[in-house]
Every structure is written in C-alpha cells, then in structure tokens.
C-alpha cells in the first residue's frame, strides 16, 4: 500500500483511540462538576472500561505492525514522520505493560485514592500507609518494566516530560535552591506587606462573573470551551475546540478564584491553540507537563501577578466590588497579591516558597522510588524537610504529607514539572520581552495579544514535535536555566520588599 494510504489507516486508528480517551475525559469532567453523589460507583467502572478499551486498541498487534511499516517508509513528510515515530515510541512503551499489570495498577490506585481521602478526612496517615506502599511497589515495578538509564525514577519522570531526568532536575534545583532561600531570607527581614483586603467578604456571584471576564480578557474562547465550578480547579480538553476549565470560589478569598482562573486559563489557551487537524496524533498533543505548566504559570505569574496587567484590570475589579477596594492604590494591591510567607500548603504558596514545597516532594519521591525511604517514614521525613527548607512546623499530616492527591493516584514523577514550568515560563517571558520591548506597555493597555500571539506562533502549533528541552532552545536560544526565574524574582521581590 502507498505510504499515504498507510498513514491514513494509522490516522483513523489513532483518532478512534482518541475518541475513546476523550470520552473518558468527558466522564471525568462530569464526575468533578455535575455527577450526583450516588452515581459515583458506576461512573468509576465506566471510566475504567473506557481506559482499558483505549489501552487495548492502542497495544493491538495490528497497530504495532502498521507503525513499524510506516516508520520504515522514506517518503513521509516531516510532520507525518514525527507522528509515526512518537506513536511507535508510545506503542513500545505501552506494550511493556501488560493488560493485567495496567488493571492491577488501576485497582491499587482506586484503593489508595479512597484510603487517602479517608486518611485526609480523619487526619490519620496510618489509613493511607499500606495502600500507598502497594502503589509505590507497583510504580517501582512499572519503572523496571519500562526500563531506564542511571536512576529508576527517570522512567517515571519520562511519563510527564519525555527526556527529563534526575540529573537535569537536580542541576536546576541545586542551582535554584540556595538562591531562593537567600532571597527569601532577605525578604523576610523587611516589613511584611498587607494583603488583608483579599479576605473581605466578596459576593460569590460577582466573583464568578469577574473570573469569566478575566478569562475573556486573556483570550479564552468561550465558543470553544467553558468554565464550571469544582472542588479543585483543573483544565481538561476533549479536543482543541472543547477545552474546559473549572474554578472554586471562596467568599473570603478573592485571590483563590482570581489566580486559579488565570492559571487554568493559561493551560486552556494552550489546549485551544493545539493544531486541530492533528486530533488524535502526537502533534495534536501538548509537549509535556512542564511546558503545560509553563503556560499556566506564565499567565498566572509573569502576566497575572505583574503590575501592567492590573494597570488595565484593577478598575474592572473595583467596579465589580464597589466600596470594597476603593481606597486601595494599585501599589498596595500589587504588593498584597505578591505577599511572600512560608506556609504549610503547596497550593496556597507564594511564587517563591512554592518551589521549596515542590523540592520537598521531589526529594521524597526520588528516595521512595529508589527504595531508600519506606512509605511509613514519609511523615517524619516530610516534617523534617518543611522545617529545614521553609522553617515551618507541620502540626499534623492533613496539613502535611496528606495534602496532595498525586501519590494516591500513582502520579510519581509529576511534581518537578510544576517548578520546571515556572522556570520555563520566566525564560519564555524574557524572550518575549526581548522580541517586543513595548510588551508591558501593551499589556497595560489591555493588549494581551502581545503575549498570546507569541505563544500561538512559538509554542502552541508544535504539539509534541519538540521535547521540552528542544522547544526551549528553539524559542529562547538557550537550554533551560533558572537564571531568568531568579532575575525576575529578585527584581520583583526586592522591589516589593524594599
């Protein structure tokens, strides 16, 4: 058969698998937003069946043979070639995990998720310990099945960011950590800034409307997506023309809703910008979780916590809440929303201490997966690192090692991408600024296209064509390094805390 014919066959098969995967995503979205309580049990099995069906379709011998055949063809276009190559890699990777192993993992994860939820509610790590242990043992086994060089943890990180290794992450984190701690110490010697204005009572309906308006203003296309309410904010997509974000609204915390909207909006703009014609194929998918996070952090922090953005939007905010922010100057607002303070909860952390939260989890995971730390020792080790890195005393496991959902889901290797995302974001933002010296003036005039157009040209259209590292080098001229983040943070926070 002609290469074009074979490629069409491959595309059809991949799109069918995507249909099943995205259907499962719709069920997950519904589970987090609208599912009535008694529907949970059957929903769990419906999602499991779709996951299994997609896996079975993907690891079929027929698709494997087709990929091998296509990969040997010389007459494919550059994009077609890359799609085939990436699909073949995915295929070979997936093939290493038997259906039985996938099911065992899925069942272990379901048990550990429920144990985690219970342990967290009852503030009792003991409930979580045994099911978590099982998941960790399975993740080790998964790493062995997948194979790796140097460090077993690399096999797992690879799932979230292809090519990411302990060596790369250690290099970045070891460079970043002392500088962060030193900047943090400097800031903490200065008088604290006030952010009490964020904790007034803010009408939740108005908060919702303000969040929707902000999403519109950064460029979210409501014809190709929507926002709903959920317990934890997230972004999910069913194709690039149906991208959904969620937020949560706390009457006494305006910041929670505002920056979760901008953060998830950043993720969503990326998904809305992925090439629609590559639906179901690697080039239609996001590059990596690190790059995904760079998109949310760029909007949340480099744009959404910077002064130019609020020069345009502060008036709108005041209009939504008449009488509540009238006496506040833009400087006071800006300083308040950037208040730095070591704390216990990662998701509530400021831009500086956030990375220390992540590093603690990264250190722990590395040791859990290499086997030098047992799951029963997590609480003590966690608490020790929080004291050491952040200088805070963890009062209980609920506000300590039980706070994140990730481990209960078996997501080992994920956390580092949060920090790497911020570092990529700072590096991208610096590149955009170099290419457009009037960038911040434009943002201050409400022209967010100054950012969005760059991302639409440089990041979104590539899908998985480049790895995170290649993409970064292509668009910034340098490999990833923490200099830009440190420069940005030093300048920003020494200014705020001057």
């Amino acid at each position: 058969m002609s290469s074009a014919g074979l490629y069409d066959e491959y595309k059809t098969k991949m799109q069918k698998i995507a249909d099943v995967k995205y259907a499962s995503a719709v069920l997950q979205w519904d589970q987090e937003t609208y599912l009535p309580p008694k529907g949970n049990e059957f929903r769990g099995r419906q999602i499991a069946t779709l996951t299994e069906t997609a896996h079975e379709l993907f690891i079929s011998e027929k698709l494997g043979a087709l990929l091998q055949e296509l990969n040997a063809r010389e007459d494919l276009g550059i994009q077609e070639k890359k799609n085939v190559q990436l699909s073949l890699e995915d295929y070979e990777r997936n093939k290493k995990l038997s259906g039985a192993f996938v099911r065992e993992m899925s069942e272990a994860v379901t048990r550990s998720y429920h144990a985690w939820a219970k342990a967290r509610a009852e503030n009792n790590f003991e409930i979580f310990h045994a099911p978590l242990h099982t998941v960790i043992e399975l993740k080790k086994q998964e790493a062995e099945l997948l194979g790796y060089k140097v460090h077993r943890y690399n096999a797992l990180m690879n799932d979230y960011d292809k090519g990411l290794t302990v060596a790369i992450t250690d290099e970045i984190f070891e460079d970043l950590k002392p500088q962060l701690i030193s900047l943090l110490n400097e800031v903490r010697q200065k008088p604290q800034v006030d952010n009490k204005f964020l904790s007034q009572s803010f009408d939740t309906n108005k908060q919702w409307k303000f969040g929707m308006e902000i999403l519109k203003r950064i460029g979210f296309d409501f014809e190709a997506g929507r926002q709903d309410i959920s317990l934890h904010p997230f972004t999910i997509n069913f194709n690039s023309r149906d991208v959904r974000v969620t937020t949560r609204i706390d009457e006494h915390d305006l910041g929670n809703m505002t920056w979760s909207c901008i953060h998830e909006g950043g993720h969503a703009l990326y998904e809305q910008g992925l090439p629609e014609e590559q639906y179901g194929l690697p080039l239609g998918e996001y590059c990596s979780l690190s790059i995904h996070e760079s998109q949310s952090r760029l909007w949340e922090n480099s744009v959404g916590r910077a002064k130019p953005f609020w020069e345009h939007n502060f008036q709108l905010l005041k209009t939504f809440f008449p009488g509540q922010l009238d006496k506040l100057s833009i400087e006071e607002f800006y300083n308040g929303i950037n208040r730095v303070e070591p704390s216990l909860i990662r998701t509530e952390a400021d831009e500086l201490t956030y990375h220390l939260h992540v590093m603690i989890r990264y250190e722990l995971e590395k040791r859990l997966i290499e086997g030098t730390l047992g799951s029963k020792d997590i609480p003590a080790y966690w608490n020790e690192l929080y004291k050491q890195y952040l200088g805070v005393i963890v009062p209980d496991d609920k506000r300590g090692c039980l706070q994140d959902i990730h481990w209960s889901h078996g997501s080992f290797g994920y956390f580092a991408t949060y920090s790497l995302g911020s570092i990529y974001a700072a590096q991208f933002y610096a590149a955009i600024q170099r290419q457009n010296p009037s960038l911040e003036e434009e943002i201050a005039r409400g022209k967010n296209d100054a950012i969005l157009d760059w991302l639409k040209t440089n990041i979104y259209p590539h899908g998985r064509f480049y790895t995170s590292g290649e993409l970064c080098y292509n668009v910034t001229g340098e490999k990833l390094n923490s200099k830009y983040f440190i420069d940005y943070a030093t300048s920003k926070f020494t200014n705020i805390y001057s």
Copy 2:
C-alpha cells in the same frame, strides 16, 4: 464450565458494553446541556466511535457462542434465563446489521440532523429533503436486513416496542380516532376556557426553583440524578443511580416548564426504579418506549393535570409567584391548564388533540417506509392531514413538518409509542384507582407515594421481563385498549367544558 460461571462471564461482557453505551449517553447529555458550540463536530465523531465500539463488542462471535451455550442450559434461574433469551434475541437482531452499515447510518443521521437544524432555522424544507431521503432509504434497508412479517414498518416499530405492529397500532388508532374527533367537536361547541394566567411574566429563576420542588414532591431522588436546562426537555440515564432530566423555561409560559418537569420526572422515576443489580442486562432496562411514555404521561396528565394534585400544590405555586395567581380559584386554574385547542405544534398540544398530531406522523411514516410516499411529498401530505384531522392550516414548514427532531435522527417507528403511552397510562391509572379507592384523596394530601409505590411494585422492578402487552395484561387484567383513555378524557373534558 458451570452455568453460574458462564453466566458471570456473560454478565461481565454485558456490563462492559453497557459502560461504553452509557459513556456515549453522557456525551449526548453534555451535547444538549453544556457543550460549547465549536465542540459539536468532534463530539459527533466521539459518539459515533463509542456507538460503533459498543456494537462491535456486542456482535462478537465469542459473545454469540456464549449466549447460545447459556441458552441451552437448563439450570438457570428464571431471571437469568430471561436475560439470556433477550440478549440472544438482541444479538441476533444486531448481528444482521454490519459495523459498516451502522457507521453509514450514524453518519447519514449526523448529516441529516444538521440539515434539519438548518432547514428549520431557515424555514426551508429543501435543505432537509436530500439528507432525509438518504436516511429513509437506509431505514428501509435496515428493515429488510432485520426482517419482518406483513409490513416493513413493523421491523422498525419493533425497535421501540418489541412485538408492536401496524396491525395492533391501526386497531387502537382506528378505535380512538373517531371517538377523539367526536369528543373534540363536542368540546369546541362549548365556550372556551381561559388560560391567559399562564402567559404572565414569571421570573425564570423562580420557575426553576418551583420545578425543582415539584420534582422532589413527586419523588425524584436528587442524590441519584439532577436537572439541567436544554433546548428540548429530555430524560437520560447512565445507570439507575444517575438519571438526568432537563427542562426549558419560557418567561411567558409557566405551563411549559411545569408540565415538562412532571413529564420528564415520570420518565426519570421509572429509570431510578429499575433494578440496579441488573445493570447492563435486559432486566435492568426499561420495558419499551410505550411503557416509558406511559410513565411520563401518567404523572403529567393523570396526576399532574388532575385536580387532586393541585389541591395540594396550588398554594405552593401561589407562594412562588405572589400577586400573580392570587385571585385565581383552583377551578379556574384546573380548567385553564386543561384548555383544548387544535394547534400546529405537537409538543404544545393538549391531551386530546395530541393524539391526532401523532396519528398524522404515524400515517406518514408508514407510507414513507412502505415506499408509497416520497420524502419530497412530505410537506404537502403533512399539511393536508393537519387540515383534515385538526382543521388547522399549516402556514410554513417550520411550524409543520420540520417541527420534530425524530426523522432527522432516523427515529422511524417511534411516534406511535407516544399515544400508546397515554393509553397505557390511563389503563394503569384506572387499575391503581380500583386497587386504592382513596387514591385521589391521598394525592390531594400530597401523598404521591400512593402512585409511586404501585409503580415501584408493578412496573419498575420488571425491566424487560415482560413485553408491553404482557405487562399490561399482568397488572390491569386486560390487554391494551383505548376504553380507559376515552372514558377518562370524556369525563374530564365534558366536565371542564360543561
């Protein structure tokens, strides 16, 4: 293998197929409620893939062999035996339609649906004509593939109500039609009752809350379901613990929302009452669309348009809309909500003329499927029958043959079940009354359990164990006949129009 072992295997397979089918239902629900406009195209293909996947899983040779083997076993319980027997029938029926045919139909239907929506918006039947013609040709082909006795249309009706035939329907309709028309003529000679009070401006939020309260009062379990807004009200279920209804709210038509809530609520109570432990198996499914409609009509009309129900709920309604209904007596209200008037739109028709709308569609469909009428002749034939049966002049196709979605979906053989549902409802209601002479007193005191408990005992638990006809005979002691409906309607409307 033991019969129990084989039966477990059968159950597992069926439940997996159900997972895929219900996942598809979630995608359809989302399509009608929350889907952003640009998401429509990919959603269509995602649903098509799930439909195809479920079909392929169901017609697999392995499942066929398993069903044959189980069907030959003598040691199954009565319910197990019935499940196997019905699944085997379904299997043999489905097997007659190839995957390719199912996909072709699904694609034709997607095209015809979009053409219908456009034709309706532009009030131009020409746009719909060609895609509808294709669908009709495919439906004829489907009927031939499925096989039938006497009339080709029987093969299609069978899909909605097993065992239903043109002969049965003709007999019922030919009995009903002259009596209906004579009753209608009688009513029309009397002074018209006033229902203008329904067209005041009613706050839509309050309408929503009133509808939710009414759903609660008839027994809808909001822990196992929810209500949302859609263009056309519908009920859909993903299992008996997740049943969703939708409604629409028109500021100037209180009746629209109110009786759509009760109608869909009746469907939903049936789904919530189906045996959960039979998930994925025939005995966990509704009996037929006629019986499903009997449940919605029973609540909408026999209960929801009768005086006892409003003796209890009229005060609540007045409380929701203070000042708007205060001067209205319950008699005036009752008469108004039962106003009879020939009109153009089926979904807005009263209890009497409704059946004439249905009969027109039934006559048309029979002729389209037997091939004695071409799709291009629909508008003329439609308009002629509306003049003849209802005495109304159809001004345009939008208010004529383009008003219903059914044909665009390929749902030929469906309409008759609407009328049959009403006739079953009247027959069931009469049986409930015979068994409980104080029924209406209880309803008037808000004890809707008087109805619900009977349905929970006599209808819901059986799933597909009986056909519509068998079920009717079992619970009423008679085969379906229009006497109960005619008696009910004659007594009700001669009283209102006295």
